[in-house]
Symmetry: C2
Subunit: 341 residues, 2 copies
């Protein structure tokens, strides 16, 4: 057990794209757990697009990280010592202990990870928040029917890859959007999507249209921006658009001005669209069904996943800035410590 | 029985606001019903905002009226003669026979009106399409809960007045938006809305905000445009926006350009909004429940309605142009013929 720990704090609120100087790495004393608390050693830190929102203080569904505060994030961690009756040293847990090597957490905020379900890193990936975002958003809001066309962007990523594969399990046709040939090839050849279009292609909108000859019935929205504008005209009557993220817009500083509503609403009406925002915690009650279905699909090879790992906590800021630009290929993870200390 | 009949045809497709010259009144021979058909004499013609959409040939949920064709519309009509086993002379029926004094229709497209439910004109009003639009959009999509705030525009009109009153029956707080003091007074004093704001007021947005101190949980969208822009920032987390009409935008000729999606989607995500377009036929299966509930509410005085009648088929074009400008006060009807010939 070390006595010195390391964390990444928010040094300043980014204006647009986060820069290296918006983060600061600090040393601190390993804390002592209080009553009901446990001391955690981080194994895996999950990096996810929503964290960009926490760096700003605009209105959102969650409070921002204070300047000088430790960056938030989901982790897979080992219990070092425990004052909670529910945990013992050596337990591996799902925590929200953030961008740091060590942390204390109330036992009530932790969930033991069942290693029988898969590698523990999947607890922040395909069997964790990203997988459950895909599962609930697609099934509870998107409700794809056999034969329908489901489109998802960031299709090689943690959420998008699960969305398309679950859509195929339900008999729908999955079309992905991704950045670059390698990702598109992976989505088509490894994941089995019917097609995958490169959003960097100058013919992107025309190619997307050609890939969706029967239009789009479900668009799982996790990027926004120009991709959304190419998708929107292709939506069929009664299409459903679950909105879980807008990574392409997170760094926008300019507020688009009205009139912005007219065109969108006209289509909502004439096509009877459903556009619905959600975050995964809105569907917390679906956790058991999600874990049951998703672990079975992963074991059966019906849902594949890819991890993109950088080494050491120090790598987190650059890895996160890369994630916002689509430099990751698969679920972005930071290996903070070994599986067993 | 007359041998000469009169109809209003679409003379030309309007560019923006319809003009008198976009309509033409024609005489024609009273037609003879064929096998399974009945001959109808129009008593009431309903004028509704959706008809503006039928005058244009842009993409919509329904085919446009052809140039030279009779304007479409719901009617209350008397059966003059019948080749259908289901109808006999003297029956009063709900038809879609359009802007004309006489028409033939297949018996299968007609529905007998039960005079026990209310005056026959209500079959195209509070007990007809507008009432059912309010009922299904509010209850099936808006799903107001007791204590929530429901906002509706065109609050003195056929749909809006029913939306607010049904919201109050469900224990919600109804706030209306209408054009002018007379309409606002009626909505507050006669219909019992908690408040009604005049959208022509220069302080409209500020007054709407003051009238909704707890924000807006359901916005029943039937106007669009500037009203929507004032409402949008007041929407609460998990707010629902059924979209059934955009009368303020129907005459727009300019297509608003991207980027228009960003601001709207950002709010859809952070507030987890549901925005869903619908037309009443999407909920055709709810007809019996609607008629049972609404006729009981009307009889109990819980849902009041107001009719705005112009006399004679010739008055229809001007009445319709007035409807698009909010000149009507209550459900717009044209008295085409007497109750009994």
């Amino acid at each position: 057990m070390t006595s010195s720990a390391k964390r990444v704090v928010l040094a300043s609120r980014p204006n647009g794209e986060p820069k290296t100087s918006d983060f600061r790495i600090e040393d601190y004393e390993v804390p002592t757990p209080g009553e009901g608390q446990v001391l955690l050693r981080t194994i895996w830190l999950s990096l996810d697009p929503y964290m960009r929102g926490r760096m700003s203080d605009g209105p959102s569904y969650a409070a921002p990280v204070p300047v000088g505060g430790t960056m938030e994030g989901g982790t897979v961690a080992e219990v070092i010592s425990s004052n909670s009756p529910d945990f013992a040293g050596g337990d591996v847990v799902l925590a929200h202990s953030g961008w740091q090597t060590h942390g204390v957490a109330d036992g009530k905020t932790l969930r033991k990870i069942d290693p029988a379900l898969g590698p523990v890193s999947t607890a922040v990936g395909v069997l964790g928040m990203p997988g459950m975002t895909a599962y609930t958003g697609l099934l509870d809001i998107g409700q794809p029917k056999a034969g329908e066309t489901v489109v998802v962007a960031a299709a090689s990523g943690a959420v998008g890859s699960a969305v398309g594969q679950i859509a195929m399990i339900k008999g729908a046709r999955a079309v992905g959007i991704a950045g670059g040939k390698d990702k598109c090839d992976y989505v088509k050849n490894e994941l089995g999507f019917a097609d995958c279009i490169d959003h960097r292609d100058s013919d992107f909108a025309a190619k997307l249209k050609a890939a969706c000859p029967d239009g789009i019935d479900v668009y799982f929205e996790n990027v926004g921006g120009a991709v959304f504008e190419a998708v929107f005209p292709l939506l069929n009557a009664f299409a459903r658009v679950p909105v879980c993220g807008l990574i392409a817009q997170y760094n926008d500083t300019a507020d688009t001005s009205p009139p912005w509503a007219g065109k969108m609403l006209r289509n909502v009406l004439t096509k009877r669209l459903t556009i619905r925002g959600f975050i995964v915690s809105d569907f917390a009650g679906r956790r058991q069904e999600f874990l049951r279905d998703m672990s079975a699909w992963v074991k059966a090879g019906k849902v594949k996943y890819k991890e993109f790992v950088t080494e050491g906590l120090d790598s987190a800021p650059e890895a996160f800035m890369g994630l916002l630009k689509g430099k990751n290929f698969g679920k972005q993870l930071v290996r903070v410590g070994p599986d067993k200390a």
